[in-house]
């Protein structure tokens, strides 16, 4: 069985409301050194599937390719 880790983030230049909210909240809490926060999704997927299939699944369901980028990492079995 193969294991994958998938990271989904907004594309550059696309507004990230949760990130912007966290940024502001941190500033309100006094963490003035924080300049930017971006929030995305982290997905773990396991099964009898190859990398190409996982990529297809990302394009089709797990990410919205119009506004999001994704990166798939294969997890080496220990």
């Amino acid at each position: 069985m193969a294991r994958y880790e998938i990271f989904v983030t907004y594309k550059n230049g696309i507004f990230d409301p949760p990130g912007a909210t966290a940024e502001r909240a941190l500033a309100n809490l006094g963490y003035e050194g924080v300049e930017s926060v971006q929030i995305g999704k982290y997905i773990r997927l396991a099964g009898d599937v190859d990398l190409a299939t996982v990529t297809e699944v990302c394009e089709k369901l797990l990410a919205n390719p119009v506004i999001e980028d994704f990166r798939v990492e294969t997890v080496e079995e220990a």
Binding site: G13, P17, V66
Partner: protein
């Protein structure tokens, strides 16, 4: 020097790339007396784009009547406003977000809702309801299902987070919209009359305050790039223009802005929509006859190294522009801070009439403010009646088709129509919308029009008044005859409101058409405006706001002409409302109006014969008005227990819908001399199916005789099936099964598809 950062020999090329025509560029040079800077060229290209300047449509729009007894604010502001009695007023407007939604349906539709809601609270009104008018291709295509599902989710997501109910709308599925969906969002807001605010900058020395989100590169050039050019396969390259909405920020903006206005802290307020800061600031300045001086380095940026022109044209969402007297600045900032909103002084009002943009110490743009908003060239596009109309209109269903007469077949046809995506229950859509938040929704989605009580829930200011609202347009009729089709769009919206007990008060419109530079397209536009104007005049109902969306084409062919009408009507007393559902066994069913053999452009032809042809139903506006008035009087007099308009699918579908809504059957005798298909499925206008208690039947009929409108008593509400003479017989269960689940099945019942199909198909 920044003002001459553009080489004179390169400027025309950039101008054309930005969408200006060469003679428009020459006009800019004439105004400035020099080569424009990069920032200036961007600003002119956006403000002079079709979307912002209405350069092709402005002359035709002058046909609209814009004044009436209720009107407090007509077209030209962010939204129109009418008085609804007892010192209350409602602001409303409809706007398109077609092209952004075709790229990213969820965010496109969501930001469409957000944008129109900002137009409403900019006027000082609290948004109280949204309606959404949608058009897609047919749902057998995966890409269309994706667009439909995404748009509905986006409307629901944004509206639900915001706490503004989505109470109505419409959706059609036609091949003509396959490459170019339509997302028309309408918002209605409520205020006290004296709170009416205008987006105007005044008082040299006053400060310009930017409130809300940071400014990024999102939506750069959205208005000109997306809304003013035809769509084709290069659409994918335009993706960076996608804006992402933040409804929680918008909710804070609503509360902060209404408080700022309530406290009298602002001189003027405008929202940043298409063309961003450029549009909002130049319009406010030109309305006030003043100048503005803005420094882009003061604008809170979301991204690094943004250029001055990017600040000026960014369409980042959830931002407002306010003009404040220096003495009230601290108080105004305190209100924004209280609501957790950023507010930054980015410039000031001047008495020079010039719009000056600075980047720190450098001036990067300097032009007469009024020329941006008002000096765009006005065109008189060529018009030509499309050649295809003769052949289409000549089609005669009765002569050319074999129409069924067998009762079993006709029963099947009725069930087929009830299951048609254009007729079936919209429950799957509105179940996703919060339609009751704020507690003022009296008639919920699913009936003819939404009815909303007037009052400020939670502040103890409730009234017995109500408004009814509906949005309508049958694009097929407009395709076959735009003049008649546009009149019907108005008539149907008014009829829906009348069936709910509302007297039509004013309309907004969203005029969706193809490329106006094509004479055949412009002819359909002109005819539609003429039709809509004539209908408004016949009813004494003004147009108080609206929006034109051109260039709705894909691969060279235009959409159906689609002049969507959003109509608001008034009820003196909220209890005097009515719904489409049959109420009690034994009630008498009366058809107000009469049926003619009119199958042109009907859903019957489309579903049964895959044909879109013929003349659309004729419309007699005087008869229409009399029919509506008679039914409104019957509702107000407490006689009418249910009222439902006959539209797509004809009287058989109208009665079936009232049966399903009321969970009751009906025994009907149409007793006309028409071919059964014409009798059952003709889409003749000016017809309303009403029910009255048996004891009230005589009084109601007398009132119809007095009103001089045609009518016939066609049956009684009874049993658990719909029986129409010997022509047709279906059970309630059969009707429910056909009518209720269709949309959900079409969306979710599809087979799995490849990514390629989803994004290219």
């Amino acid at each position: 020097m920044p003002l001459n950062d553009l080489a004179p020999e390169l400027a025309p090329t950039l101008a054309v790339e930005l969408g200006l025509k060469l003679d428009e560029y020459e006009k800019v040079v004439g105004i400035l007396g020099r080569t424009p800077s990069v920032t200036e060229l961007y600003m002119y290209s956006l403000m002079w784009s079709e979307h912002c300047s209405y350069k092709h449509s402005r002359k035709a729009l002058r046909m609209f009547p814009t004044e009436g007894e209720h009107v407090l604010q007509g077209p030209g502001e962010n939204a129109g406003v009418i008085s609804v009695g007892d010192g209350w007023a409602v602001a409303f407007k409809m706007e398109s977000h077609n092209h952004p939604s075709a790229i990213e349906p969820y965010q496109g539709a969501a930001t469409g809702v957000g944008g129109i809601i900002r137009d409403i609270f900019t006027m000082g009104a609290r948004p109280i309801a949204s309606l959404d008018s949608l058009r897609f291709g047919t749902l057998d295509k995966p890409r269309q299902r994706y667009l439909f599902e995404g748009s509905v989710a986006g409307i629901g997501g944004y509206g639900n987070c915001l706490g503004v109910p989505t109470v109505g709308g419409e959706v059609y599925f036609e091949e003509a919209y396959e490459g170019n969906c339509l997302i028309n969002a309408m918002s209605i807001g409520l205020m006290r009359e004296e709170k009416l605010m205008r987006a105007i900058a005044a008082g040299p020395g006053n400060l310009v305050l930017l409130i809300g989100s940071t400014t990024g590169r999102d939506g750069i050039g959205g208005a000109s790039v997306l809304a003013s050019q035809e769509f084709d396969e290069r659409a994918e390259d335009k993706r960076p223009a996608v804006q992402v909405g933040d409804p929680f920020e918008e909710k804070l903006l609503i509360e902060a802005c209404l408080e700022l206005l309530d406290e009298g802290l602002l001189v003027g307020l405008g929202d940043l929509g298409a063309a961003g800061l450029t549009s909002s600031a130049s319009e406010m300045a030109s309305r006030g006859g003043v100048g503005l001086d803005i420094d882009v380095t003061k604008i809170p940026a979301r991204e690094l190294e943004m250029k001055p022109f990017e600040f000026m044209v960014s369409e980042s969402q959830e931002r407002m522009l306010a003009v404040v007297e220096p003495g009230k600045l601290q108080e105004a900032i305190a209100v924004c801070t209280k609501w957790g909103l950023r507010s930054t002084v980015i410039g000031s009002v001047t008495d020079t009439g010039r719009f000056v943009v600075r980047q720190g110490g450098d001036i990067v743009a300097d032009m007469p403010a009024a020329t941006l908003a008002h000096d765009a060239p006005i065109y008189d596009p060529a018009m030509e009646r499309p050649a295809y109309l003769d052949e289409l209109q000549a089609f005669d269903a009765f002569a050319e088709l074999d129409l069924p007469e067998d009762p079993e077949r006709l029963s099947e046809v009725l069930l087929g129509l009830l299951a048609s995506p254009n007729i079936c229950s919209r429950q799957w859509i509105w179940q996703q919308y919060d339609h009751q938040v704020m507690l003022n929704s009296v008639v919920l989605p699913g009936s003819d029009a939404a009815v909303l009580r007037i009052g400020d829930t939670g502040r103890g200011e409730m009234t017995n008044r109500a408004i009814a609202a509906s949005s309508d347009c049958n694009g097929r009729y407009c395709y076959l005859d735009p003049y008649t089709g546009a009149q019907i769009a108005f008539a149907e919206a008014a009829r829906n409101v009348a069936c709910s007990g509302g007297e039509p008060a004013a309309i907004t419109d969203c005029l969706n058409f193809g490329n106006p530079e094509k004479p055949e397209v412009f002819w359909t536009f002109h005819e539609s405006i003429r039709g809509l104007s004539d209908a408004c005049k016949a009813f004494g109902v003004p147009v108080i706001s609206g929006n034109v969306s051109f260039y709705n084409e894909s691969f060279g062919s235009p959409i159906y002409p689609t002049p969507t009408v959003g109509l608001v009507g008034l009820l003196d007393h909220v209890d005097q409302h009515c719904t489409a559902a049959f109420k009690d066994e034994g009630d008498v069913i009366v058809l107000v109006g009469e049926t003619l053999p009119e199958l042109g452009g009907s859903e019957y032809l489309k579903v049964e014969h895959e044909t879109v042809a013929g003349m659309p139903p004729a419309i007699d506006l005087e008869l229409e008005r009399d029919v509506q008035r008679a039914v409104i009087a019957g509702i107000r007099g407490g006689l009418v227990k249910s009222a439902h308009d006959c539209s797509e699918g004809g009287i058989a579908v109208a009665i079936a819908e009232s049966c399903v809504a009321g969970d009751l059957g009906a025994d009907v005798h149409l007793d006309d001399e028409l071919h059964p298909v014409a009798s059952l499925f003709s889409e003749t206008q000016s017809r309303i199916v009403a029910t009255v208690a048996e004891s009230d039947a005589e009084a109601f009929i007398e009132s119809l005789v007095t009103a001089g409108v045609p009518y016939s008593v066609i049956g009684t509400v009874e049993g658990d099936s719909l029986q129409i003479e010997d022509r047709l017989s279906v059970t309630l269960d059969e009707m429910r099964e056909a009518f209720l689940p269709t949309l959900e099945q079409l969306v979710h019942g599809g087979t799995t598809v490849s990514t390629e199909e989803l994004f290219e198909g």
